[in-house]
């Protein structure tokens, strides 16, 4: 159940003086929907490319589905579906022709079932009716769907997706999310690289956060956003909360007070006994955004004068 699907040890990629990826130990297990978060330029794409054998690591080891990469690429990669950065296809050919050529270009896709598989994935991503139109006449969203279809072509055990909802409209995003969840229920492990926190929060069961080439956080989403042991009280009169529960108040603002205590019922009883009006009560949970911001530094796009990035 918890077999490692992606495991890296001390993975480093250096471009000149820049350590784009600086010693990361990924641990993605079978059945995970793994959210790989990081600001632009934090090394996400380089890591994804190393996992797939496109970029060769400076040092460190990668194991993909139990095989060593990039050595076993020919054996492993047919079992992996990938969407890297943006989709790409030959503009003068139809979507169907593109998928057929892609399938014929490598091992692990039987010629006999090719037609059926191509039809099936086009249906899955909602492009079944697109016909012979050349890809250059596709919208960005359609190209994204076609890219996803290419990734699904051989029923992969592992999907590696880099920003799969880029360019899709809200309905499209919703469809892709449903599709991924459906595939996940069917046993596919999903590795989702994204800078969209909301997307990851809705989809993923495990999260890794990359900051300037380092993996600063890797844990179950449920653990990261577990209750903090405090209760958030909504009230029109926060000052009276401080009077009633002196010493337990962690913070106050105009309409809310955060009170130490993991049992909202107990907090409520104490406040009601003191005659404080309470309009809302909730366990305090950190949002993924707060967790990520606490773990990672500023945006990697920022290049400050001194020591702005993890250069050298």
């Amino acid at each position: 159940m918890t077999a490692a699907v992606i495991a890296t040890q001390g993975l480093v990629k250096r471009f000149g003086h820049l350590r784009a990826v600086d010693g990361i130990d990924l641990d993605v297990r079978a059945g995970d929907v793994y959210g790989f978060l990081g600001a632009n330029g934090s090394g996400k794409t380089t890591t994804v490319r190393m996992l797939l054998g496109l970029v060769l690591p400076t040092s460190g080891e990668i194991s993909l589905l139990g095989e060593r990469m990039p050595k076993a690429a020919r054996k492993v990669l047919p079992r992996v579906g990938a969407l890297i950065e943006s989709p790409a296809a030959y503009g003068h050919l139809s979507g169907r022709a593109n998928l057929t050529l892609l399938d014929a270009a490598g091992p692990g896709g039987s010629r006999r079932t090719r037609r059926a598989r191509v039809g099936e994935v086009l249906e899955q991503v909602g492009l079944a009716g697109v016909g012979r139109r050349p890809v250059k006449a596709y919208s960005l969203g359609m190209r994204q769907r076609l890219g996803l279809a290419g990734a699904l072509l051989r029923r992969p055990e592992l999907l590696v997706l880099d920003d799969p909802t880029n360019g899709l409209d809200p309905q499209g995003i919703h469809e892709v999310r449903d599709l991924l969840l459906e595939l996940h229920r069917g046993g596919t492990t999903v590795f989702l690289s994204s800078h969209l926190l909301a997307e990851v929060e809705q989809l993923c069961s495990r999260v890794g956060v990359l900051d300037r080439g380092r993996l600063v956080l890797q844990d179950d989403l449920a653990t990261l956003t577990a209750p903090t042991g405090a209760t958030v009280v909504e009230t029109p009169d926060p000052l009276r909360v401080r009077a009633a529960l002196d010493g337990r108040v962690l913070s106050l603002d105009a309409t809310r007070a955060v009170v130490r205590g993991a049992d909202p019922a107990e907090v409520n009883a104490a406040l009601v006994a003191a005659g404080v009006p309470v309009t809302g009560l909730a366990l305090q949970r950190p949002t993924l955004e707060e967790v990520v911001l606490a773990a990672a530094g500023g945006s990697a796009d920022r290049v400050d004068g001194t020591e702005g990035r993890a250069r050298r």
């Binding site: 490319r49 060769l56 690429a73 030959y90």
Partner: protein, 275 residues
């Protein structure tokens, strides 16, 4: 994989437009010659052109000689330069490689499709040249088997069978010469993500080579210039065939092709694909 690459190339409209444009110049030249009857004097202008007015069967060779210095290398450099860099620029290279196509396999498939393009292009130029020759010019009657089929450049006569055989040899030789161009362009294509840069790089090499060839000061390196023996296919039409330059030309192209493809392979199989 090879079938995939061939399908990709020959299903692409651009491939056929290139070949069609390549044939435009010999056709235009033939039309002008036929209309004006003003052939260049023997020894001037492209080889064979002076002879075609009297014998249209030589026009395939004249057509090859017309496109050989510039048009044919441009077409070959265009296709070969696009081979890897074009995929990189379009972003399809990364999807091919994670498919996984295998870098060596992909390069070999690209090479074979480029060779196929060179062959098809040279054959089409020769075929169009043949048709044009039949249409625009007098053709020596082939029925008189013992009649002179044509005149060799050295003045003696060749039978039609000899002309046909030697034309085939010449087509083969031109194809081999173009493989050198293809190897340059393919090597540059693995260096850059821009197909334009790869094509221009290969053309720059050829232009430099042609220029140095005309320079007396460069005579010591002249035998090693890639374009040095290109026009040696003319020697197939001397009687007897003058093999010396042809053999040297083939040897030189073989060395260029081997070295450049080795370099292309070494570079491509170890490079980070970041396109």
């Amino acid at each position: 994989m090879i079938a995939v690459e061939l399908a990709k190339m020959f299903r692409r409209p651009r491939t056929w437009v290139t070949i069609a444009l390549l044939n435009a110049l010999p056709v235009l030249v033939a039309a002008l010659l036929a209309l004006t009857d003003l052939a260049p004097r023997p020894g001037e202008g492209p080889p064979f052109l002076s002879a075609v007015l009297t014998n249209g069967t030589l026009y395939p060779l004249a057509a090859l000689a017309i496109v050989l210095p510039l048009f044919l290398p441009i077409a070959v450099a265009l296709i070969a330069g696009d081979a890897v860099a074009g995929e990189a620029q379009a972003g399809t290279l990364r999807y091919l490689l994670v498919r996984p196509a295998g870098r060596t396999r992909l390069l070999v498939a690209k090479l074979i499709s480029v060779v196929a393009f060179v062959l098809v292009t040279v054959l089409v130029v020769a075929a169009v040249g043949y048709l044009v020759g039949q249409v625009f010019f007098d053709v020596q009657p082939i029925s008189g088997a013992r009649a002179t089929g044509g005149t060799a450049l050295s003045g003696t006569s060749l039978t039609p069978a000899q002309i046909t055989g030697r034309t085939v040899l010449a087509i083969g030789y031109v194809t081999a010469s173009m493989l050198g161009v293809a190897a340059f362009a393919l090597f540059f294509s693995t260096l850059t993500d821009s197909p334009l840069a790869a094509m221009l790089g290969a053309l720059a090499v050829l232009i430099a080579s042609s220029l140095l060839f005309t320079l007396d000061a460069a005579s010591s390196i002249a035998p090693y210039l890639p374009t040095r023996y290109w026009l040696a296919f003319v020697d197939f039409f001397r009687d007897p065939i003058l093999w010396r330059d042809v053999v040297r030309g083939l040897g030189l192209q073989a060395v260029y092709v081997a070295v450049l493809l080795g370099a292309a392979w070494a570079n491509f199989t170890t490079k980070d694909v970041t396109s």
